[in-house]
Amino acid sequence: MTMAAVELNCVTKSFGDVQVIKGVSLAIRKGEFVSLLGPSGCGKTTLLRMIAGLEKVTTGSIIIGGTNSTRLPPERRDIAMVFQSYALLPHLTVRENVMFPLRMRRLGRKDEQQRRVDEVLEMVQLGHLANRRPRELSGGQQQRVAVARAVVSRPQVLLLDEPLSNLDARLRESMQEELIQLHRQTGLTTVFVTHDQEEALSLSDRVVLLNEGRIEQEGAPTDLYSAPATPFSASFMGSSNLLDVQIEAAKGAPCATLAPGSALPLEPGCAAAGPATITFRQEDVQLLPADAEEGILATVETRLFLGSRIRYVITAGAHRFRCLASPGHSFAAGQAIRVRIPPGRIRVIGRTLA
């Protein structure tokens, strides 16, 4: 059995009477990059802070590097954390900030510490700003100092709480690339909190989707993206459509009936007849002219030009869904069209609860 770098066993957390983490078990392998993804308020930060020791665990246990750390204070855990607000010490220079964990944890001799700090500052390309104070840096530079300060002590686990959310879109993309690079160089076990599914999908080895204090689904990014297991996963993984339909298994191949006379064909044997929820991705919806041979009749409700793509909101009977199309063919708002979705791209994700 290989030892996990971090292991959460049935961890719960209550603030007063309110339970915000409702039993989370998770094993993170050494060197793995795991994202905690979920909507605002689902408990991502709370979970991360419990791993860091900044929040007491109500029940359950947390094991870091084989040591039961459930009751250890933060300074006795071998971790490092990047805060959303960076939390750089304002009275220290960049170099002193990066040196701080080495000094406090008494890691290595003074000259070794110096060398390591220089090394890490080079890695994040901040060598030339080493003697500035945090307030004399841009947001992106501060962010890099925070990352440098976290990796310098080579902790068992690196925790990041939405470290990129204060950056503008372009900077965020380049920082994402740098983080991947950094993870490859250092091989640190990383737990990354975000509410941005694209960020989670592009950065991580594994995505853990949280919903109201529970793990909704976990898996490799491609699995989560292409095979959401629940309606929540499907809708949260973004750009997915969810429709409550009636499955009819007439004449062999089943189909999903949106309205009388308008049914989407499904793959044979994928669901039994009855009410159900289907999901399909925006980019899998194909729009055809109204006089086409196949597809169901629908109407364009709105049309949004996004640059590389066009987003349509389509109505078919009482149903609405979104479609992401390349700008090649164009339909106007209000226009009648036909819609086709490849049967293999539609997933039936259980009975509707309603």
Binding site: A52, A87, M104, R105
Partner: protein, 274 residues
């Protein structure tokens, strides 16, 4: 450039008021100290003050007491302000009320209170006697300790409130970051909170020092005639001997000393302000 002129325009009414209500009266009093009756310049009063051992003794006591009072306020005020900043907002409100409430009663009344507590047969000597620390008939009245105790009580809120303001503005994540980087709780207070709160401590110390150097009611009542301080001496000179020019000269010296203290302070805050 234009913005500079606008700054001045905005500040002008305030500056004018300051000029009329503060600088003119204070200036004319201070001028009294360096002028003969005929209106010519003379350093005679200042020289008299600086050469008489009695007045030098008073100055030394004033400085010594002010330093001790400031130190006690800072040493007790910092942990107190830190605790106030870290408790919930309700309890904090109550604590703020608790420490500012004394400000709403007259200083004279509070000082009389201390006289009762510290005097012969008062609560404090009684307790000390029952602990076997002192003999009967022991009194704390007319000692420098009494002055320090009375003054600390009066000036404590100024110190606490100016430190509290800085700590409340500080990002609480800084302490958590320090903990995650290997600091124990006390180390995080010492290495993060203390440096970040320094401007507040300096501002509070300045307030407490200048106020205690220029207070006279409490030191006079608690210290008595044998332990005069500069402000008390100014008051005595002006009211009892009615030697106005000499009282003005003493004020000038107190004023200058406080001003001299301000310059390093401005330097310090400018450095802290980056």
């Amino acid at each position: 450039m234009a913005s500079h002129r606008e700054d001045w325009a905005i500040a002008a009414p305030g500056l004018l008021l300051l000029l009329l209500a503060f600088l003119v009266p204070v200036g004319s009093i201070l001028a009294l100290g360096v002028r003969t009756e005929g209106g010519e310049f003379t350093p005679a009063y200042v020289i008299r003050f600086l050469t008489e051992p009695y007045y030098l003794g008073i100055s030394w006591r004033t400085i010594k007491l002010s330093v001790v009072i400031t130190l006690v306020c800072a040493l007790v005020g910092f942990p107190f302000a830190y605790i106030m900043a870290r408790v919930g907002p309700r309890l904090r409100l109550w604590l703020v009320i608790l420490i500012t409430l004394p400000l709403m009663t007259s200083v004279v009344v509070r000082t009389f209170g201390w006289m009762v507590l510290l005097g012969r047969g008062g609560l404090v000597p009684d307790i000390m006697r029952s602990l076997g620390l002192v003999r009967r008939n022991y009194t704390l009245m007319h000692t420098e300790v009494a002055i320090v105790v009375g003054m600390v009580q009066i000036l404590f809120p100024f110190m606490v409130l100016s430190i509290l303001g800085v700590i409340l503005r500080m990002d609480p994540r800084l302490e958590e970051a320090a903990r995650v980087m290997g600091c124990t709780f006390l180390q995080s207070v010492r290495r993060v909170v203390l440096p970040v709160a320094t401007p507040g401590i300096v501002a509070g110390s300045l307030l407490v020092f200048t106020l205690s150097a220029s207070y006279f009611i409490t030191p006079s009542l608690l210290g008595g005639a044998r332990l005069p301080v500069l402000a008390g001496s100014i008051y005595e000179t002006a009211t009892r001997t009615q030697d106005w020019p000499f009282a003005a000269a003493q004020s000038l010296i107190l004023f200058t000393a406080v001003l001299l203290l301000l310059f390093p302070y401005i330097r310090l805050t400018r450095k802290a302000g980056g």
